[in-house]
C-alpha cells in the first residue's frame, strides 16, 4: 500500500505566550515584510497552506491592558490578499468569525480572495461566545453556545448558497454578440432561517475552487459535529500521539455519521517545532525557549486564566495556589479563549501534577503548557511527522515556531526536504487550486452537502 501524502501548513506565530517577541531574532508582527518572509518561506517549502489566526478583542487583565504578549494584529483578509500577490501556489487560510460577520460580506470577501489568488482561499470558521468581543460589533452582546453553532451553520449554508449563485460559465464576455452574461438571473439568492432572512443578487463571479476550502476547529461535541458536517479540513489542538489518534477516530466517525466520506476530510493539528543538530542540543534549546515563554509573570497570568482571579500575590516559585478558582466571577482576563471548561477540576489536576512531580507553580504551568510537539534533530522530527500521519493520528500538521517571521525557515530548510526525499511530501507544486492540492473533490454547485442541523435553511 502506498504511503499517505502528508499535508503541511504554516501558522504565523500568534498573539500568545508561545511567541517570544523578546527574542533577538523576532521581527514585527504587523509589517508586511514579516508576512511576506513567512509566506515566501512556506512556498519555498512547497507547503499546502498558510494559516492566520484572528483576535477581535484586545486582551485585558482586570482593568489593565494586557501587554505581556504580543499585542496588535492586522486584518486577516487584507494580509491574505497582499500575500496572494507575492505567492503563486500556496493556500491562504484565514480565521474569520461567523458570529459577528454577515454572510453576504463573508461570501464576497472569500470569493474575491479565491478569484484574486487563482483558487487558493480557505476559511477557518470560528464562533465566539465572548461578550466583550461582541461589544466591538453592531450585533452587540453575544450568542449562547447552542445559538452560535446555529448561526455558524446558517452562515455557512448562506455563504455556500451565495458562492453557488454564479455558474462557472456565467461570464461569456463575447464582444461579437455584445453578451457579457450567459444568464440574466446570475447571482440570485434567497436564504431564510432563524438567524438570517436575506435575498438579493450576489456580485462576485464563482471562484476557481467553486467554494473556498472550509477549515474548522471544533473541540466540544457540538463543535466536532459541526466540523464533521461542514469542514474540508479540521484544525486540532490534540498533539500527543494517543490523543491525536483518538480525536482522528472520533471525528472520522462523526464525518461518516454526517453522511460524508471520511476520506474527504483532512485532520491537521498544529505543532511547534524546535530543532537541534543533536537530540541533546534540541532539548537544551527547547528548555531555553520554554523558559522564556513561561516566565514568572506569565506563569501567574496563565494560572489566573484558570482561577479567574488575581493571583499576583502568589510566588511563581512557590506551590500551586491553595485558594479555589472563582469561575462565576466576572472574567478576569478578557480577549483570550478560556483554557478550561471546569476550573475546579483543572486546579485540582494542577495540584496533583505539582505534588506528584514536586513542581512549583511556574514549573507546573510549564509542564501543562508545553506546546512544543516536535523537539529533536531534523531526522527525528521528520520521523515523527511521518509516523503520526501513516498511523492515522492526523493527515498532516500546521507547523510553526516561537519566532516570527523567521522561525519557519529552518523547518522548511531542514525537515521538509527529508519528507520529500521519502516520497511522503511533494517535491514541487502541480498547477492547481488549494482544494486540488489537498486532494479534495470540487464542490457541486447547489451542493447536496447541507449542514445537518439547519435543514430549514433553503437557498
Amino acid at each position: 500500500m502506498s504511503r499517505k501524502q502528508i499535508v503541511l501548513g504554516a501558522y504565523f506565530p500568534g498573539v500568545n505566550h508561545d511567541t517570544v517577541w523578546s527574542d533577538p531574532a523576532s521581527g514585527s508582527h504587523i509589517d508586511f515584510a514579516s508576512f511576506e518572509h513567512w509566506a515566501r518561506t512556506a512556498e519555498r517549502g512547497k507547503l499546502d497552506l498558510l494559516f492566520l489566526a484572528e483576535g477581535l478583542r484586545i486582551r485585558t487583565r482586570g482593568e489593565d491592558f494586557f501587554d505581556q504578549d504580543v499585542v496588535g494584529r492586522p486584518d486577516t483578509f487584507t494580509v491574505l490578499a497582499s500575500l496572494a500577490a507575492v505567492t503563486s501556489h500556496i493556500g491562504l487560510a484565514g480565521t474569520i468569525n461567523s458570529t459577528f460577520n454577515e454572510p453576504y460580506e463573508l461570501a464576497r470577501k472569500f470569493a474575491t480572495l479565491d478569484v484574486l489568488s487563482g483558487g487558493r482561499a480557505a476559511w477557518n470558521v470560528v464562533t465566539s461566545s465572548d461578550a466583550p468581543t461582541g461589544e466591538n460589533f453592531r450585533r452587540g452582546g453575544y450568542l449562547g453556545h447552542h445559538q452560535r453553532y446555529e448561526r455558524a451553520g446558517e452562515t455557512l449554508t448562506a455563504v455556500r448558497a451565495l458562492w453557488d449563485s454564479w455558474g462557472s460559465d456565467a461570464v461569456v464576455a463575447d464582444p461579437s454578440s455584445g453578451t457579457f452574461l450567459r444568464d440574466g438571473h446570475v447571482g440570485d439568492f434567497a436564504v431564510h432561517g432563524n438567524q438570517f432572512d436575506i435575498a438579493g443578487r450576489f456580485t462576485v463571479p464563482r471562484g476557481p475552487q467553486g467554494h473556498p476550502v472550509i477549515l474548522q476547529a471544533g473541540e466540544s461535541p457540538a463543535g466536532r459535529d459541526f466540523a464533521a458536517a461542514n469542514a474540508d479540513a479540521i484544525f486540532s489542538r490534540y498533539q500527543k500521539f494517543d490523543e491525536a489518534r483518538a480525536f482522528y477516530d472520533d471525528v472520522k466517525a462523526r464525518v461518516a455519521k454526517a453522511g460524508r466520506d471520511p476520506g474527504e476530510v483532512r485532520i491537521l493539528p498544529s505543532a511547534a517545532v524546535v530543532l537541534g543538530d543533536t537530540e541533546a542540543e534540541a532539548r537544551e534549546r527547547h528548555a531555553e525557549i520554554h523558559d522564556r515563554q513561561v516566565d514568572p509573570w506569565t506563569a501567574i497570568v496563565l494560572a489566573e486564566m484558570v482561577w479567574n482571579r488575581d493571583l499576583s500575590a502568589y510566588d511563581p516559585d512557590g506551590p500551586v495556589p491553595d485558594v479555589e478558582p472563582t469561575p462565576e466571577a466576572p472574567t478576569w482576563i478578557r480577549g483570550r479563549a478560556p483554557l478550561t471548561q471546569d476550573a475546579h477540576a483543572t486546579a485540582t489536576s494542577w495540584r496533583e501534577i505539582a505534588e506528584a512531580r514536586g513542581l512549583s507553580l511556574r514549573e507546573t504551568v510549564k509542564h501543562v503548557f508545553d506546546r512544543a510537539v516536535f523537539v529533536g534533530t531534523p531526522e527525528h522530527v521528520a520521523d515523527e511527522i511521518d509516523r503520526y500521519v501513516q498511523a492515522d493520528a492526523c493527515d498532516g500538521f500546521i507547523l510553526g515556531s516561537h519566532v516570527s517571521p523567521t522561525g519557519l525557515d529552518e523547518i522548511v530548510d531542514r525537515v521538509v526536504p527529508i519528507l520529500a526525499d521519502r516520497g511522503v511530501f511533494r517535491t514541487d507544486y502541480e498547477a492547481g487550486t488549494l482544494r486540488e492540492n489537498l486532494g479534495l473533490a470540487p464542490p457541486a454547485r447547489f451542493g447536496e452537502r447541507r449542514p445537518t442541523g439547519s435543514a430549514a435553511v433553503a437557498s
Binding site: 504587523i30 496588535g72 494584529r73 492586522p74 486584518d75 455584445g178
Partner: protein, 188 residues
C-alpha cells in the same frame, strides 16, 4: 491594530450638491466634484468654500491641539478618452457611442493628450486642486494618460516628475493628525 502610518487615512468623497458637500466639509479630506466646464468648476469651488465656512469643519481630536482642519482638497472627476488627433478621438467616441452611448455624471472629454493638458491647467484657475481621471477604456486610455498626458503636464511644469513624501496624506499636503488620545510627552 496600532495607529497606522498616516494616523488617519485619507477620506475621499464624491459629491454632486450641497448635501454631500456638507458631509465632506464636516469630515473628508478630499472632495471629488463633476463640473462640465471651467465656469461650473469655479461655481462649485466657491460653493464648497461657503459650506466649509458654514459647517464646523473639525475633527474632535485636532481642533483642540491644532486649530482648524486643512481646507478640503477639491478634485474634478473627468471621463477621459484620448487619441493622437482630435479626429481620431471623435471617431473613438462615436464608435463607443454606437455600441452603447457613453454617459456619465462627469464630463466626457474626447481629445488629445496635449489639448487635455492645456484644459487641466486652465481649469486650475477655477480653484481646483486636481483631477480624478476616469479612463474611458482600459487599458487604452490609462496607457495614453500615462504615456501622453503626464509628459505633457510635466512639460508645462504642472505635474511632479518624481514622488515626494511617502504617505498619501503627504502627497495631498496634509499633515498627520494628532491622535485624540495623545497626551503631553507621548508621541502623536
Amino acid at each position: 491594530m496600532p495607529r497606522p502610518p498616516q494616523g488617519q487615512l485619507l477620506v475621499v468623497s464624491l459629491g454632486h450638491g450641497d448635501e454631500p458637500y456638507r458631509l465632506a466639509a464636516r469630515g473628508a479630506d478630499v472632495l471629488c466634484v463633476t463640473p462640465h466646464d471651467v465656469d461650473e468648476a469655479r461655481g462649485i469651488v466657491e460653493r464648497v468654500r461657503e459650506i466649509e465656512a458654514e459647517v464646523e469643519r473639525h475633527d474632535e481630536a485636532s481642533a483642540a491641539t491644532r486649530g482648524p482642519l486643512e481646507p478640503l482638497r477639491v478634485l474634478a472627476d473627468l471621463v477621459v478618452l484620448l487619441a493622437p488627433t482630435q479626429d481620431e478621438a471623435d471617431e473613438r467616441l462615436a464608435r463607443l457611442d454606437a455600441i452603447d452611448p457613453l454617459t456619465s455624471d462627469a464630463a466626457v472629454l474626447a481629445t488629445t493628450p496635449s489639448a487635455l493638458a492645456d484644459l487641466l491647467v486652465a481649469w486650475q484657475e477655477a480653484g481646483l486642486d486636481g483631477y480624478r481621471l476616469r479612463p474611458a477604456v482600459l487599458p487604452t486610455d490609462l496607457d495614453r494618460i500615462v504615456d501622453g498626458l503626464v509628459p505633457a503636464l510635466q512639460q508645462r511644469g504642472a505635474f511632479r516628475t518624481a514622488y515626494v513624501g511617502s504617505t498619501l496624506r503627504e502627497r495631498f499636503g496634509l499633515p498627520r493628525p494628532t491622535s485624540r488620545y495623545a497626551t503631553a510627552g507621548s508621541s502623536a
